[in-house]
Amino acid sequence: MSDFALTLSDVSGHDLGPLSFALVPGEIAGLVGPAGAGKTKLLRVVAGFLRPLTGAIRVWGLPVTHPAARRLVGYARDTAAFPPSLTVREVLMYYARLHYSMRRVRPPLGLMREALEIAGLAPSADLRVEALGQADLHRLNLAQAALGGRRVLLLDEMLSGLDAFARRDLRGRIAALAATGVAVLITSRDPAVLERLAARVLVLRDGRIVRAGPLATLLGERVLEVILDAPPPAPPPGFRLTAAGIETPLAGRTVEAALALCRTHRRPVRASRVRVKSLEEIVLETHDVH
């Protein structure tokens, strides 16, 4: 038995890697990057659908190809589809039957009800899949991924394309699963949607992790925004132009020192404020640097 829910060691192949990281039980890690960065491919490798050329993937210490490991990994595809003529209850019952085990105490009916509960799908249980809205389709995708007591969830773009209310609801449900010890690796094209969910962020570009760290650390970077009366032809050293003026990261210097630099360059300051960098800015900067 391993202390880690999921470990990747020097995994490469399929235009990925080498990649190494680990998830502890109950951790939510966000995998962000532009389209084509390799997020979905990485999840497919971790789910055992693609075999890496080198390296090892372990789920609770077992190789991911081991049947027992595969039973512990739930995977919600970005393009998940369900039999359209069946109801939500029938679809989940079908998956629950696939999880049947002779020694399992809980029958498929119990697994199906639990999955309905996890995803908040009870009110839509008797609706046909073809009649479901986008939010309920995402909930069904989460329900099928979590069904059967999976301990590692791979969620591909689970929060993308949803309105703020549905996103908040799903975020809460994913966080509730993580609170029970389920490790979650969730991808998103839009970093902003992970800001209130992921404890750790991995930035992927061209199949490689180019930046990683706890969200609190990444979001700890502060920026001084300076609003000027007139836009300058060129920003002072260390600053960059914005729509309303200039801005600079405050890494290693004080606000006073940065404002003094503006004055020495004869830039009349109308107003200034300090804000923390958004995850989107951090990801974009990381992308531009690499």
Partner: protein
Amino acid sequence: MIAAAIWYQSPPFISYRAGMRFLHCVHAEFLLVLPRLTRTRLGLSLLALGGTLVWLSVHGLDPLTAALQAGALGAIIGAAELVGRERDRAALATALTHPTTALGVATGRWLAVVLPLAPLTILCAAATGGGHTGAITAGLAAAAAVGGCALFVVLFFGNGGALALFLFMAVAGTVAPERLVDFARPGVMRLTAASALELGPALWHYRDIARGDVAAALHALAWAGLGVLFASATIARRGVHG
């Protein structure tokens, strides 16, 4: 809890439990046909097929051909309704994220295609006056063989493939290759069609099952098995590529 789950779910070798697991997966797949019989066009299409064949046999269609057509054409309709739509095919990839196998999915879908045809073939054979065991067996063998082939064709080519197979079975399927060779002009097309009829799951083969021909029964069995294997390979490919 995790340790217990791993211990329980890790048979160290292929065992009785592994076999039972496979059967459970097949059973879960088969059960998907039940809501579809009443909720989609599947049930009505099979009834319409049965009615048409009975009507045709009243107007001169031989009862054995009616039983064979009920099995073969019903299997194609079943495959088209079960996996013909793109969303149904895409859903197979989601199923593979659960503890099942592509072979289990294909076998279960094949059973879901074939088993509802048993009552249809029996009723069709009884209504057309050919209700002897031989005709029913031949009809079921045709359903099994064409069901396997149709499952693969529909998974690979979609409903367009189902339509082509349906027309081939309905029009040319009952014609023996020798007769085709006699009818058509020499050429590559004629040889290709004759070879398809000779090797493929064509109904003229399965007429002989009614007379107890073991070779014809083995031909049907081989096509059922090949169809399921090819279908499972197609499903596995979908699992990898989403």
